[in-house]
């Protein structure tokens, strides 16, 4: 239950000074700081390594069939890819700003930012099948070549990650609502874990975009 101070001082709630048990200092403390917890970074580094394996597979196959892969990437629309990249980056921006806001106790701002992130993520999720439909209509199905096999598979795996990340953003939104003045240590861990997962999905896309749409 909110205490009487914050009920009567509605303006100060948004501008409350940081009094959380986990105030993030400007300089790292001597022990070092882990956003979220070690486990989420084990997750992030492992998932990125697994995708690294996928990226390596792409380039090895590309080396063996350069013509096929070049034709494949020419059949894709870099504009679609670039627009999706901006959606991803803007969503990450919103999530990062939301974390900062919630640390400062500005819960409503954080919630709005998370909704913004959700909208960008939704735009990505809507755009992807539209793009796929366009490719299929042009005759580029998943059985046309190794390029398109990997294209549908890897963008599909990434899309699943985005859908999970949307669920994570919804959970973050719910968690943020419970924050009073500043997050507790457990709340901060939860929020930072979720945010870090979102950024992972974003950075995977950076490489996917380069490999499929831009590499010649």
């Amino acid at each position: 239950m909110p205490d009487t101070e914050s009920l009567t001082a509605t303006t100060t709630r948004e501008e409350a000074p940081r009094t959380a048990s986990r105030v993030r200092p400007e300089k790292p403390p001597s022990r070092g700081w882990i956003p979220g917890e070690w486990g989420i970074w084990v997750f992030i580094l492992t998932d990125f390594s697994v995708f690294g394996g996928y990226f390596g597979t792409f380039l090895v196959l590309r080396g063996r069939q350069p013509g096929v892969f070049r034709a494949g990437s020419q059949a894709l629309s870099p504009t679609h890819g670039a627009v999706n990249t901006v959606f991803m980056l803007t969503a990450s921006l919103c999530v990062a700003l939301a974390i900062r806001s919630v640390r400062e106790g500005r819960v409503l701002t954080a919630q709005k930012l998370l909704v913004g992130a959700g909208l960008c993520g939704a735009a990505f999720i809507v755009n992807k099948p539209i793009e796929w439909a366009g490719e299929l209509a042009a005759g580029h199905g998943p059985h046309q070549s190794d390029f398109f096999q990997l294209y549908y598979l890897l963008t599909g795996i990434h899309l699943l990650h985005v859908i999970v990340a949307m669920l994570v953003v919804a959970l973050l939104w719910r968690k943020v609502r419970k924050v009073q003045v500043a997050p507790t240590a457990l709340q901060a861990r939860y929020l930072e874990n979720g945010a870090s997962f979102w950024h992972l999905v974003d950075l995977i896309w950076m490489v996917l975009f380069a490999l499929f749409y831009l590499v010649r």
Partner: protein, 94 residues
């Protein structure tokens, strides 16, 4: 309060600056990816390197690694650099 507001504004700008940089790098990569005919290999290597620079910028600013424990920074940036280098190596080798 003014000092904190100023600090807050600057810190918030840090993330916005990172975002703007990432969008700019995306635009540069996009331009390089357009079929210019010449120097395809060089353009491709730059595109790959820029992709991993973007990965590192996301890690440094959005994922708050700028403040994180050194061992985590080494792990993240080291892994990104390693994967990037291996990919460029594969591209050049095959």
């Amino acid at each position: 309060m003014t000092a904190m507001t100023a600090m807050t504004v600057i810190k918030r700008n840090d993330i916005l600056v990172a975002w703007a940089l990432l969008v700019a790098l995306t635009a540069v990569s996009w331009w390089l990816g357009a079929d210019h005919g010449r120097a395809v290999a060089a353009a491709t290597i730059v595109i790959l390197v820029l992709a991993f620079v973007k990965v590192m910028v996301i890690g440094y600013s959005f994922m708050e690694l700028r403040h994180a424990a050194p061992v985590l920074r080494v792990a993240f940036f080291g892994l990104a650099a390693l994967i990037g280098t291996i990919l460029v190596g594969i591209y050049l080798a095959v």
